[in-house]
Symmetry: C2
Subunit: 265 residues, 2 copies
Amino acid sequence: MLLVGELINASRKSVAAAIETQDKDFIQNLAKDQFENGAAYIDVNAGVFLEKETEYLKWLVEIVQEAIDAPCCIDSPNPKAIEAALSVHKGTAMINSISMEKDRLEDLLTVVAGTDLKVVTLCMDDAGMPKTADERVVIAEKLVDCLNKNSVPMDNIYVDPLVQPIATDVNFGIEFLAAIERIMAGFEGIHTICGLSNISFGLPERKFLNQLFVVMAMAKGLDAAIIDPLDKRMVANILAADALRGKDEYCRKYLGAFRAEKLKF
Amino acid sequence: MLLVGELINASRKSVAAAIETQDKDFIQNLAKDQFENGAAYIDVNAGVFLEKETEYLKWLVEIVQEAIDAPCCIDSPNPKAIEAALSVHKGTAMINSISMEKDRLEDLLTVVAGTDLKVVTLCMDDAGMPKTADERVVIAEKLVDCLNKNSVPMDNIYVDPLVQPIATDVNFGIEFLAAIERIMAGFEGIHTICGLSNISFGLPERKFLNQLFVVMAMAKGLDAAIIDPLDKRMVANILAADALRGKDEYCRKYLGAFRAEKLKF
């Protein structure tokens, strides 16, 4: 399971404040904490700053990679901001995200075409958010086709079928899970990724639901997630689910986590 | 999700002692506790007593049903013991279990043929325990065919694909999960059931693994489980997973459990 640490996001007040005051230590500690708790990519998002997004995103990439030896997940729909961030990024970044929304697609395709960038690909088009597994698969097919034609290989594509709240529609969870399975089975070598928190919107004990939904999605084949790596039970559940689905040889990582007391809550 | 309470099993020392001393209160309290925590069936097992099994099983059914208004899951491979237990059982019992092992199959078929009994059907034959999903599906096909021919309808069949430890073979979890999905998709109206604890044999933090594996199996369609209903997190996880997979309209049961503080650990 590939984990993307979601915490360096300017929609969080403390992060926005740290960005505005250029509080390097705060951001770098957040990067280190996430990295040490299993994040393979560190998401960086400065979207709330609008005009200053480009400048701030570039700064975030620089100071994150000064602190840790890991790639970033550059989280913006703005091609200019992404290109500025990529100009200083070391190693292979992940771009979060492309979609079938016409404007977004065309602009971002020119950024990712022919590169070795990893690309998060939202199952969304100009008609809005899909509701069923069928709708998601149809959009995924178009996106994958488009990316492949622009020389983005299957192994660099991370399809996000988009989690929606079960409090809005009781079938939103099962339709998402079915989409994960069909996308993983339908496109050899592809990946699926998601954030979890929307699933529990409007319900109590949200973390509890999110921590279980990721495990259900893993049973269906999900192989990447955008999470808070400081949520100990979330990380432990993911580690256990990998062992339970045969992705942890000799349960080595699970046993390591046990010895490091990471299965105590 | 249908829950079978597993605690009245003579392989547990306290239960064996209560059976031998005919400690009715102890057994009845165990039945009540399980029933109040969501068990739809109460498993009764007196297998360790060999010659006295028939007498004890009958006694267990009588006193359990004196205490609560719920059917039993009669847990024995011995047709005489099962028939004695059925002779005093009120309502529709579940029989645990039949398999493709030749001796067991023939004897038990005569008990269940043409009845409305629920039948737990182990994916096991004289060649032993299956390892792969394929092996499980082949045995399940034979068992279902055999039961259907003996007038046991699909809706009364609970196939147990048999959980085996991931510490023995890292693929045992994923093969089990694949079997659940294929059996649920392959036989319309059928059910799947299992115990969980074998999955974690030989590993630390066993309950933690069992509590997550059931959720993974539910993502694949598992609709019944033989569990300890007093394991609060297990029951809460199952409740949450039902909401997450669209089996809890308006999340009513989940919200009820929250209000009853059953999501606090």
